[in-house]
Symmetry: C2
Subunit: 426 residues, 2 copies
C-alpha cells in the first residue's frame, strides 16, 4: 500500500474502481449501525444495573436527618456533595448536586449571564454594546457550541494542541473585554481525548481576562473515564483559580451519565460560595429541589472515589477493545494510504479523525448511504463549520465489537472513496 498522494492518475482511477466495488457490496448488506454519539453500550448498562437495588427501604432514605423523599435542599443531599467533592478534589460545600443533566447546568450559567449577568458582572451580557464571545477550542463538543448559538453568544475558535488549547492564542483573546467565557474539557477532551497538561491548566487558572466576569466553563465530563492505563489525577481547578486571585472565574461540571445510566444519572456543578449563592436566587425560582432519591441511590452505589475508580476499570474492560479495534483498523487501512491523522486517546468516548482536507462531509455522506450513522461532519466546530472539512468524530462505545468492526470497514472504505474523488478532481 502506498500513500494516495504518491499514486498516478491511472492508479487512483483503478483504486477508485476497486473501492467502489467494495462499497456497492457493502451497501447491498443494508447495514444499520450507529457510531454517532458517546453512548455507553448495553453491556456497560447491564454491568451497573445493580444500582437499581441499593435503595429499597424507607428508612434508608433518611440520611443525616434529611429525608431524601421530600422537598428541600436545593444544593443537593449533603452525602452527595461529599461524594462528588471527593471525586472532583474540591470542598463538599463548593458542590451543587442537581438533576440528571450537566448540560442544562451549563446552559443555565450562560443564560443567566445573558439575562441577569453573573456574580462579577456589571450588567447582563445582553445589554453589552457588542455580543459577548466565548473561546471554543476546536475540535470541540457540538452541544457546547449549540448553547452559544441558542443564546446568541459569539463563538471564537482556538486550535487544540497535544497539551490542550493553544494558550498563546487564548491569552491574546482574553484581552478583548467582550470575551466573557471559554469552554474547556480538561481531561480526555471531546473529541480529541487530549488531557490538558499541567502547564496548560495553570495558565488557564492564572488568566487575567479583561472582563472581570469572564468564566471558565470547566466541563470535567471524563474526569474518571480512563479506558487505558491508570487513573490520571488532576488538580482542583477551583483551588487553582482561588490561589490565582480569581475564585469566581470557574464553574466545574461533571456527571455520572457515563458512570451509571446516561440521562438517569446525577449532574453536579462546583463553584465558589459567591457564585453558588448568587445562582441559587435564580435556580430557586425555577425549581423547588432536585431528585435527592437518585442522588442518594448514586452515593449508595458508587460509595467513594476509590470504589468509583474500580467500577471505571470494569467500564474500561468493555471500552478498551473497541478503541483498540478502531485504532488498529485505522492503522492498517488508513495510515499507509496517508489519508488521515488521529489522536490515540486513553480515556473519554471518542476518536477524533482528521481526514484529508475537503473530504469529511463526503465521507460521512457515503457512510450514511451504506447505513452507518456518524456524528455529522462539522459538528465539532461552532456553527457546524469546519473550515478544512476534515474533522470526523468516531464514537465506538455503543455498538458491540462485531458491529463496530463492520462499521469501521464501511468508514475506511468511505474515507478512501472521498479521498480518491478529491485527488482525481484536482
Amino acid at each position: 500500500m502506498n500513500p494516495y498522494v504518491s499514486l498516478s492518475r491511472k492508479e487512483l482511477q483503478d483504486e477508485l474502481s476497486t473501492v467502489q466495488a467494495k462499497f456497492e457490496a457493502i451497501k447491498a448488506k443494508k447495514l444499520n449501525l450507529d457510531m454517532s454519539r458517546g453512548k455507553p453500550s448495553a453491556a456497560q448498562l447491564d454491568m451497573v444495573s445493580d444500582i437499581l437495588n441499593v435503595l429499597t427501604k424507607p428508612e434508608q432514605c433518611i440520611v443525616e436527618g434529611v429525608d431524601a423523599r421530600n422537598y428541600g435542599g436545593l444544593r443537593g443531599l449533603p452525602v452527595a456533595q461529599k461524594y462528588f467533592g471527593e471525586v472532583l478534589g474540591c470542598a463538599p460545600e463548593c458542590v451543587y448536586v442537581a438533576g440528571n443533566s450537566s448540560l442544562s447546568m451549563m446552559y443555565s450559567i450562560v443564560a443567566t449571564g445573558m439575562a441577569h449577568g453573573l456574580f462579577e458582572s456589571e450588567k447582563p451580557w445582553r445589554q453589552l454594546r457588542q455580543k459577548p464571545k466565548f473561546i471554543c477550542p476546536v475540535p470541540g463538543y457540538d452541544r457546547h457550541f449549540n448553547i452559544l448559538a441558542a443564546l446568541d453568544v459569539e463563538a471564537i475558535t482556538v486550535p487544540m494542541t497535544p497539551n490542550g488549547p493553544d494558550m498563546d492564542r487564548v491569552e491574546e483573546l482574553i484581552q478583548d473585554e467582550y470575551v466573557r467565557g471559554m469552554w474547556c474539557v480538561p481531561k480526555f477532551s471531546n473529541p480529541d481525548g487530549i488531557v490538558y497538561s499541567e502547564e496548560t491548566v495553570r495558565r488557564l487558572a492564572n488568566m487575567k481576562p479583561a472582563a472581570k466576569d469572564f468564566v471558565l466553563m470547566w466541563d470535567n465530563a471524563y474526569c474518571v473515564h480512563e479506558f487505558e492505563g491508570d487513573f490520571v489525577p488532576f488538580e482542583d481547578i477551583l483551588t487553582l483559580c482561588r490561589e490565582a486571585g480569581r475564585p469566581n472565574m470557574v464553574f466545574e461540571f461533571a456527571s455520572t451519565s457515563k458512570i451509571t445510566f446516561p440521562g438517569a444519572g446525577v449532574a453536579v456543578m462546583a463553584a465558589s460560595e459567591d457564585n453558588l449563592q448568587y445562582l441559587m436566587k435564580f435556580i430557586g425560582t425555577e425549581t423547588i429541589s432536585y431528585n435527592k432519591i437518585n442522588q442518594l441511590r448514586h452515593v449508595l452505589y458508587l460509595k467513594d472515589k476509590a470504589h468509583t475508580l474500580e467500577l471505571m476499570k470494569r467500564h474500561a474492560e468493555i471500552m478498551r477493545p473497541k478503541f483498540h479495534l478502531v485504532l488498529d483498523i485505522l492503522e492498517q487501512e488508513i495510515a499507509p494510504r496517508g489519508l488521515a491523522e488521529w489522536q490515540k486517546p486513553k480515556g473519554g468516548y471518542f476518536v477524533s479523525v482528521n481526514a484529508m482536507e475537503g473530504t469529511a462531509k463526503r465521507t460521512l455522506q457515503l457512510c450514511a448511504e451504506a447505513g452507518v450513522v456518524m456524528t455529522p461532519a462539522g459538528a465539532t466546530f461552532p456553527y457546524g463549520n469546519d473550515p478544512k472539512d476534515s474533522n470526523i468524530r468516531v464514537a465506538p462505545s455503543l455498538p458491540p465489537l462485531s458491529e463496530l468492526e463492520a462499521a469501521m470497514e464501511v468508514f475506511c472504505i468511505c474515507l478512501r472513496i472521498a479521498a480518491l474523488e478529491k485527488l482525481l478532481a484536482n
Copy 2:
C-alpha cells in the same frame, strides 16, 4: 362567644389580656412547628415507598424496544406518555414527560416566550414595546408569581370566585394585546381549593385574546388529589381549546410530586403538536434527555389511572383528618368570633383563610414568635402584596395530627390577638 365587632372597648381589652396570657404560656413551650408549605407527611412517604422496589432488573428497563437506561427520547418514555395521557384525559402524543419539576417546565415556557417568542408569537415578548402581562387569579401560588417577577413579566390580578377566576374581568383584560398569559390551577386551586366550574373552564377555553400567542398556563397540580369524596372528573383542556379554534393556547402541567415523592417524582406538560415541536428545538439545546428510569419506575408503580386513584384514596385517609382538624378548630375558635372566612376544600393541599383586613401580617408575626412557621403573609399575591393584608395559606399536610393541633391552637390565638389589637387601635 360573641363576634369581636360587637364587643365594647372594655370587653375587647379584657379579651386581649386573657388571650395574651395564653400566648405567653404557649411561647414558653418553645414550639417548632411547620405549616408553611404543601409537603406530604412522613406517613405518606412511607406509604408510597414501595416505589423503590418496582424496578430491580436490567431486563425490565427495556420497554417496547427503548432502553430507559440510555440517552434518547426527549419527549419521554412512550409508556409514560401513555400513562399520563390517561390521567390527564389527553392523547399520549400530546404529553411531554420530563424531569422532576413541573415548575421548571412552566418557567421554561415563560422564559422561551420572553427570549424567543412562542409558536404563535410574531416576536419575542422581550421586544414588545410594553412589558408583557399575565393574568393572576388571587389568592394564588407564590411560585407562579415569582416566575413572572424573575422574567420581568407584569402580574395583573383577578379575584377568585367560588367558581374560579372572575371571568367577566378576565374577558375584559384579554382585550389588551400586551396580556400574553394567565395562570390557572383549575382543580383544587392553590390556596383556595376551588374547583373551576364547567362554565368557567369552557369560557376560558373559548377566550379570544387580542394577542394570538396568549397562553393559558394550566397547572393541573391537584388533578387526582381529592381527600374528601369521590374523584371529580375534569374535561381535557387541550380538546376544549382545539375545538374552540385555538389549539396552541394552552400548556397543561402536572406532576407526581404529591402522588409519590416530592422532588423525586415525574413532571409532565401536555400541549399541541405545534407547540411541542417548537419547544423541543430549545429544550434539545439544554438537555439530552430526562431520567427515563424514574419515568419507568413511576409507570410500574402507578400502573394506570384507576390504580392511581386507589393510591390517592390512601393519601386521602392520611390527609382528611388533618383538614377536618383545621376546619373544626377554625369553626369552633374563629367563626363565632367573626374573625375570618375560609373555603372548605375537598382536595389539594391548603386551607385559605381570609382574616380580618389588616391582620394577616401581624398574625403570622405572632405565630413566628410562638415557633409556628406559616407561608408568609402576602405570598398568595403577586409581588407579595395582599392589598387587604388578609389572606393566609394554611398547609396542614406535613405535621402529624398532634403537632397540627398545637399549631392550630397557636394560629387561632394569634388571629385573635391581631384582631383585638386592630379593633382597639381603631
